[in-house]
């Protein structure tokens, strides 16, 4: 089980909110866990400082609402700046992984 580092976590949060729309903290944590097919195990608590940071940076906004089973919960929503940031980070990530992929690829392809 890999630890999830902050930068990646932020990207996953943004992507989750992009895909599923407004969601509360618990929902985001579950979604990340499920998408990674339980390969990534997160202390749900570490999610909250990451959410706060994204909020402070203005990429997401939060407001209280009512959950699917009628409970009060705080919902996070992607802002316009957040959407742009997601695109930027996705591009960066793809570039990074592409480079790493080529770097780590078997020798015979790169002669």
């Amino acid at each position: 089980m890999a630890d999830v580092w902050q930068g990646t976590l932020a990207l996953m949060v943004l992507k989750t909110l992009d895909t599923l729309g407004p969601l509360h903290g618990y929902g985001i944590a579950r979604r990340i866990e499920q998408t990674s097919a339980n390969h990534l195990s997160v202390n749900y608590g570490t999610l909250y400082p990451a959410l706060l940071k994204l909020d402070q940076e203005g990429y997401i906004s939060a407001e209280w609402g009512v959950s699917e089973n009628n409970r009060k919960a705080k919902f996070y929503r992607l802002t316009r700046a957040g959407r742009k940031q997601l695109e930027r980070e996705t591009r960066d990530w793809e570039k990074t992984t592409a480079i790493l992929a080529r770097f780590l690829a078997p020798k015979e392809h790169s002669s």
Binding site: Y26, N43, Y44, G45, T46, Q56, Y59, S67, N69
Partner: protein, 877 residues
């Protein structure tokens, strides 16, 4: 950019609301509910569902803590805690807080007030363009390196031959008469080289500046004030004609409001300075603009080189020995500069004493807070954290004191300006006010004081001895006095106070000496009428004599007038004149140097009227008229100096009038010395020439009148007499001789009072510090004192015990301070004439005052100690 937004939000977090925590608790609760509901749905028992949800979260407290760190900035949070805590502790002990803040407010307020004056006079840029490159140039010469005016030819040579200046212009003060509605008025003006306004970089607001062609034209530029007064601010003033010195002058321009070359002169008119060919007629000063990148020392050596050539070419009498180049701002501030900087140093010492006092208060408080510090240390606060807490406290005190001080300084500054302006004129002093610079200065001073008085107590209180402090009674009973550190601080502040006291004592002493000095003449019931004789009309002796005789005749007939005489330099008025001369039958001191003495011009009966006794020979008589052989009277100092060991009666001197011509004069009398320059300098040699005979170009311009009645009452009749005899002679000022004497004492009086005020503040602060320390010590030693009383010590013995501790400290401080005091008074010598640096009687008085103040400070605690009830003292734990 995004991270800046985040940083600001985090910075603001502590202040935008403590709602953060509560809200996050709600969020976590909803998170757990959702998770538990899921777990229940998965079939877990309720207990297990809740436990797993919390485990998965990673603990509730830990999560809240992590969230907190992300929400704010840990540093700001601690600061906020410290601040809140500080406010709480200060409010819990308002007496301490108030004392500390008031002490600091006084110290910082006084310092800021003086600084605001320094700022106005010395730091604020002059209202000229690029003023940093403007300099004033003087000639230097003589033994005392005095600043002197230079001759017009020297100005021209310096200007044309030097390479260090972009531009240079000469100017000279001029007292001008203008004809207004038939009577004559005196106005201060300046004769300036045509390029003056160009050098300063200021253009007239109306009309034009002088051009090179104006140098020998009768044109004039008005000051804004003159324009508004005489032309009602009308633009058509340009082109009008003014009668100045009996000649028509055309107005060509008006300077902008607030423009003055030398603010204290408040010159009202500017006229071109006509060229003058005489090399030994030194009457102009120079303002120049340094070329870019040229330093003042470089410019000076440039001028010195030229001067050396001039002296070789024209002889030593014809040029200054060299030049000094002073920043214009300093030159214009004049002696006010030294005075202000001295006062700033003095007031800083008062502030330092205030700091010491507050440090002492904090140390005392630290002693009572040992338990608190120990508890906090025991609970895990590191030493750094405690020091930080204590420093925050002192900074809060300092900033509060600084804020109060700033308010105070506004008032103190105004008071200072008012007091100083009553005595002496300092340029730009009236522009003193609180501006950004002063604000910045006050803030820096406040923070610095906070650190200065806070750091020692913080370090010493933040390292409590846990086991000792936690015990029920923090103190042991036997002979513990105030801690060494606090005693050292009291010694320091006493020493500082003694330095100030010694300086003030020296000045007071000088003032007393001056006051008790016999001026050498009778000053009572005398009126001095300053007049002005326009040189154009009175250049020749035969023009002057009728005026003198006509006025004297009529004034002597006025009821209540006993005697009257004209004189050039009235003693103590500040005016002195020096002439070079030859003694007949004796060689000059050096081939190109003549004998030199103070000269004065008087009419007959001057000595009788002044009460100056005739020691030998006679005074001037009515028979010493314009046609009679020229006679002079010398004072005793001159007799001793030029004719030592014999009577000067019958000796003759040659007094050069122009290059070609000298006047032969015979000594007919010796008179007693008078104090001329001030009441302290020993009388200098003075040679009196008769106003009816002399051909010297300067003139007696003071009518001195001795009355039987109140001298002020004859002022109006005398004015009327002048109008009758010659309406073209303006009267500049009428004052009683007592006022003249008071004016000569103005500066020493001002400095004495200012220093005395600061010294009183310093001694009071030191006494308060001593009082605090000794009170504390008595409380500390109450058990010991109780034991002593129980064992039979009498009240007076107990009092003595306490007094000895206090006076002992004060004495150490006094001795240290005296050493500093001697050094300090040395530096005052340059400030005021007549200060003698080491005067034992003053130092004795200083010690007496200090020990007196110390005794008063110790008396209250000593009395408390003496009245201590031994039973109660021993029972108190």
């Amino acid at each position: 950019m995004r991270s800046l937004r985040a940083f600001l939000l985090r910075l603001a977090a502590p202040f935008t609301g403590s709602r953060g925590d509560a809200e996050f608790r709600d969020e976590l609760e909803s998170h757990l509910r959702l998770h538990i509901a899921d777990n229940l749905r998965a079939g877990m028992p309720p207990e297990e569902a809740r436990r797993l949800a919390i485990v998965k979260l990673g603990g509730i407290t830990q999560t809240i803590e992590r969230q907190r760190e992300q929400r704010g900035l840990p540093f700001v949070d601690t600061l906020r805690q410290d601040l809140l805590y500080t406010v709480r502790t200060l409010r819990a002990n308002p007496g301490f807080a108030l004392t500390a803040i008031l002490t600091l407010a006084l110290g910082i307020g006084a310092t800021s007030a003086i600084f605001s004056a320094v700022n106005a006079v010395l730091l604020r840029p002059l209202p000229f363009s690029d003023p940093n490159r403007l300099v004033m140039i003087y000639g230097v010469g003589g033994n005392d390196d005095r600043h002197e005016s230079v001759s017009y030819p020297t100005f021209v040579d310096w200007r044309d031959q030097s390479h260090s200046f972009e531009s240079m212009a000469a100017f000279a003060n001029a007292t001008l008469t203008i004809a207004v509605n038939g009577s004559t008025e005196l106005v201060r003006g300046k004769r300036v080289a045509p390029s003056m306004f160009h050098v300063l970089g200021v253009q007239p607001a109306v009309g034009r500046a002088f051009t090179a062609d104006d140098i020998d034209r009768s044109v004039v530029i008005l000051s804004d004030g003159f324009w508004k007064r005489h032309f009602a601010g009308n633009n058509d003033a340009v082109g009008k004609t003014l009668r100045i010195m009996d000649a028509p002058f055309t107005v060509i321009g008006v300077m902008p409001a607030g423009f003055h070359i030398e603010p204290p002169g408040r010159e009202q008119l500017y006229a071109p300075l006509p060229p003058d060919a005489t090399r030994n007629h030194e009457f102009v000063r120079l303002i120049a603009r340094l070329a870019p990148g040229v330093s003042r020392p470089h410019a000076r050596s440039d001028l010195d080189g030229i001067t050396g050539n001039l002296r070789r070419q024209y002889g030593r009498n014809s040029a200054s020995e060299g030049a000094t180049v002073e920043p214009l701002v300093d030159a214009l501030a004049g002696p006010g500069r030294t005075a202000l900087l001295t006062l700033l140093a003095v007031v800083s010492m008062v502030l330092l004493i205030a700091c010491t006092n507050v440090a002492n208060l904090l140390l005392a408080r630290g002693a009572t807070r040992r338990r608190e510090m120990a508890v906090r240390a025991a609970l895990g606060a590191g030493r750094g954290r405690l020091v930080r807490q204590l420093l925050t406290e002192s900074l809060v005190l300092a900033l509060a004191g600084g804020a109060a001080g700033l308010l105070l300084s506004q008032w103190l500054g105004a008071l200072f300006v008012k007091v100083v302006s009553d005595f002496v004129e300092v340029p730009r002093l009236d522009a003193t006010r609180i501006d950004g610079q002063v604000l910045l200065f006050t803030t820096i001073v406040s923070v610095a004081t906070g650190v200065v008085f806070g750091v020692v107590p913080a370090l010493s209180s933040a390292a409590p001895d846990l086991s000792d402090a936690m015990r029920d009674s923090g103190y042991t009973a036997s002979g513990v006095r105030a801690p060494r550190l606090r005693r050292a601080l009291v010694v320091v502040e006493t020493a500082l106070a003694v330095v100030l006291l010694a300086a003030a004592g020296m000045l007071m002493r000088t003032l007393i000496t001056m006051r008790s000095t016999e001026p050498g003449f009778n000053t009572s019931s005398m009126l001095a009428v300053d007049i002005w004789l326009p040189p154009a009309r009175f250049a020749r002796l035969q023009d002057r004599v009728p005026l003198f005789q006509g006025v004297l005749e009529r004034v002597r007939e006025l009821p209540g007038v006993r005697a009257a005489a004209f004189v050039a330099d009235l003693p103590l008025s500040g005016a002195t004149d020096t002439e070079g001369f030859h003694i007949v039958g004796r060689a000059d001191p050096a081939p190109d140097r003549w004998h030199s003495s103070g000269f004065n011009i008087t009419t007959a009966s001057y000595f009788e009227m002044m009460g100056i006794s005739i020691r030998e020979g006679r005074g001037f008589l009515a028979s010493d008229g314009p046609m009679a052989p020229g006679v002079i009277v010398v004072n005793e100092a001159a007799a001793r100096r030029f004719w030592p060991g014999r009577s000067p009666i019958g000796e003759q001197i040659q007094l050069p009038i122009t290059r070609e011509r000298a006047q032969l004069l015979t000594v007919v009398g010796v008179v007693a010395d008078v104090r001329h320059r001030n009441l302290v300098d020993p009388p200098h040699s003075e040679i009196y020439v008769n106003s009816l005979q002399t051909e010297l170009t300067w003139m007696p311009v003071v009518l001195a009148v001795r009355t039987q009645v109140d001298p002020k009452s004859v002022a109006e009749p005398i004015k009327a007499i002048f109008r009758e005899v010659n309406p073209a002679v303006p009267i500049a000022r009428i004052s009683t001789m007592d006022e003249v004497v008071a004016r000569s004492l103005a500066e020493p009086r001002l400095y004495s009072w200012l220093f005395a005020a600061f010294a009183v503040a310093a001694v009071s602060l030191a006494a308060i510090g001593l009082y605090g320390l000794i009170s504390f010590s008595v409380t500390q030693r109450s058990k010991e004192i109780g034991v002593r009383v129980a064992l039979g010590a009498s009240r007076s013995e107990v009092m003595l015990l306490v007094l000895r501790e206090g006076l002992g400290l004060a004495s150490i401080g006094a001795v240290v301070g005296l050493v500093g005091g001697v050094a300090a008074t040395r530096s005052l010598v340059g400030l005021i004439n007549g200060v003698t640096p080491t005067d034992p009687s003053t130092f004795v008085a200083v010690i007496a005052v200090l020990l007196g103040a110390a005794a008063i400070a110790c008396y209250l605690p000593a009395r408390r100690a003496a009245r201590l009830d031994p039973l109660r003292a021993l029972r108190t734990e």
